[in-house]
Symmetry: C2
Subunit: 503 residues, 2 copies
Amino acid sequence: MLSKKIYIEVAPPRLEDNRADYERLLAALPDHRVTGVPLDLLRRLPGILRAAGWRVTVTLGRTNGGWMLQAVEPGDSAGRQFGLAVDAGTTTISASVVDLVAGRVLASAVGENAQAGEGEDILTRLHAAGEPGGVSRLRTVLMNSVNRVAGEAANAAGVAAQEITAVAVGANTTMTHFLLGADPAWICREPYIPAVNSPGVQSAGSMGLAVNPEAVVYCIPGVGSYFGGDAVAGILVSGLHRQEEVSLFVDIGTNGEMVVGNREWLVAAAGAAGPAFENGVVRQGMRAGPGAVERVWIDPRTHRAAYTVMGGGKPRGLCGSAVVDVLAGMLLSGIIDRGGHFCDGREAFVVVPGSEAEYGEDVVITRQDIKNFLRTKGAVNAAVETLLSAVGINTGEIRNFYAAGAFGEHLDVEAAVTLGLYPDLPRERIRLLGNTSLEGARRALLSEDKRRELEEIRRRVTYLELNVSTEFMARFTGSRFFPHTDISLYPSVAKKLRAAGLL
Amino acid sequence: MLSKKIYIEVAPPRLEDNRADYERLLAALPDHRVTGVPLDLLRRLPGILRAAGWRVTVTLGRTNGGWMLQAVEPGDSAGRQFGLAVDAGTTTISASVVDLVAGRVLASAVGENAQAGEGEDILTRLHAAGEPGGVSRLRTVLMNSVNRVAGEAANAAGVAAQEITAVAVGANTTMTHFLLGADPAWICREPYIPAVNSPGVQSAGSMGLAVNPEAVVYCIPGVGSYFGGDAVAGILVSGLHRQEEVSLFVDIGTNGEMVVGNREWLVAAAGAAGPAFENGVVRQGMRAGPGAVERVWIDPRTHRAAYTVMGGGKPRGLCGSAVVDVLAGMLLSGIIDRGGHFCDGREAFVVVPGSEAEYGEDVVITRQDIKNFLRTKGAVNAAVETLLSAVGINTGEIRNFYAAGAFGEHLDVEAAVTLGLYPDLPRERIRLLGNTSLEGARRALLSEDKRRELEEIRRRVTYLELNVSTEFMARFTGSRFFPHTDISLYPSVAKKLRAAGLL
């Protein structure tokens, strides 16, 4: 564990055993190399030990070289040990409070990264960071967002901020820089160099995280400027790095990261995905939550849409899974063609009529929404194809396709394959993993082995720079079709289109 | 070294070598296990490296588990590396600025410990620390004194406070507690337990030391409440812990610490010495410095005193060596008897007539001064004898007698033996070591081996508690004679007294 509590009964001092309090305490912790103690705790130690009658619970935090003493409390409180797992995304922040004894998530919360007010994509924020005081301002905005979401999760879990003594963070390299306050100026300039990939452990107090100030904060190590700790966490959760056969992992949020490989080799690529699937890809898109249309079915004869709403109230907008359902339904019903154009020349498709909607306005998918979606999907396709081509693997040779992030949390697999978001593999080989950055952070909280494995993954990954790849640009331009320019890559979709008389 | 600078040329980044700045820097330091970096330095690292054209001087500080990055500066400044050695005494604070490259002291300064305003002895200060806010107040007073003396030494050395990246401190256990701000409440209560004996390394910034805030501060480890790091340093400097024959080390400041032993065993004792030899033992006493009477000779026939003054001006008072000269001269001239009484019934002896003195007043030694001196000397004698008796060693079996502190810096060996301050050993076996706490701190700054040796000494010492020894009290009561109740222990003094017709 990144932080752990141990109940100990310290031998009370006698004339014949007059070791000092601190050495006496350490002697009761024989299996731990304690390399540090906060001065403030050392100062109060004699009073704590005596008031507790020498029966105390010690909290130890993992440092880069051993353990540090984080707290000494009277009595046995070893049953209450809490950590925080954080996924600090460009658009969305997720946090889970984890019971470190049971290893399970007690409560989670999700919220916006308020940095979005400075610009939706990474490049805009890197630019803003270059202004005087920019890094510090963006750090504060991000930390406030993280603290708000973490506070919500802690409230829901019934855990006090002070009780959280370990934090593990999955984030892309730019967000990790903002969390640390490290200068990200060279991330977006050739040759694309981060200040740090593997920051080790820092204290929550020094970072401004609103948990126990002595909490150890572990940032999952990244590979480089565009393949961060969140993606390394994804590989860990997928397990593809331990398998004999070659698999593909794709995590699409505001950016897209992907990796292909097996237990012998790992090659990764990344790129800005275009508008986020999470909530930016369509005008009336929204994050999954109350009021979001979640599932949509289009009647191929009437072209009417049936839908379900999260929380059961009136629909407010479309979450990612609904957009995928609508677009796939429109394609298979002949409402749009494979290029994304409306076959009857209209400008929008009504998913929810205004009479049924929360705000009284039609909830629609417009021509522009479809173009945005195609651009994002095209970027992902192009990146995956460039990556596979670079390692000489065909899609069909992929054992498992792992989808993470907004790209893979609640999507209907059939619809996603129909649109070409997912490859046309036997369905049992398509694995939806949810938020692997958050799950990787949870595992890092609980296990030193997992932290070692993350570091090992980071070292094993070979990163393919797509920013300088002409092949990527060529594929990107040619990939804005449903499911793909080359329909032979999607036999199951071709079969459906043919059955509907559309191919 | 506790802190060291290394000039490195970091490989500039390329597309084919896009490691992050921090990892790139660490790769250029292959022989050092770097376990930490201050967040503030990590934040600025990309700018520093690029402005310096990837040629930088790295400062590393020893931590409890490895090295921490303290600073990164442009260009090659490895020739300028500075440390601070401090002896934080109950009465006097000494500091030396040390050139860590050459290993030598550049400048030193001495000043008062302003805590004396709260009480001259340790017990009064421990009592004051028990009041609300007491520890914090006493810590601030001590730290201000240390900072003033350190600042003077740095000024004299031409070194900026920011350039000092390592500090080693020799201090008794109570002073170490005050420096750390650790609660010393249980030091003076049976069974006499310190908060900490071996505090390892803390940062200067957290302690409030006015040097580089990232400087590593090493407190020489102590054995227990009354045998601190200053005395452990004394053993190191004496070298008795490595010798085959048995030797005795005595350090008398405001307190007295002593140790007897050899390379196989070490037994120590300590006790409050009574009024400090440094400046408190006589009414007109003062610390060695300009205006202090340093050497005194008494004509056995005329009973007039001749003297030398430090700095050559008019005399202001008597430093410790003058007091010892005067008392020994008075004894051998028959002005006082072995019990310290004036033979002719007078109340004081004039060392410097008012007409020659700076303040126009006679500089005298009074009956009360002699009583104070005898009490202090008696306490030291009693402690040494109890210690030797406990280990079954006679004074004559002592190979070397090492005298440290005010007790041993400038004293005339013959006079000190005459008064019974030093044992009556062949004179070449009496070694005056000066301020061994400061010298031990200097060595700790320069060598990891010495720090390991200090830790080893600390572990090897068996401490004999005199506070609960009835033997000590009996000896103390019987030991207020010059040179000793049992004159047979001092044959050379007996011979002199006999020659003068006084025995």
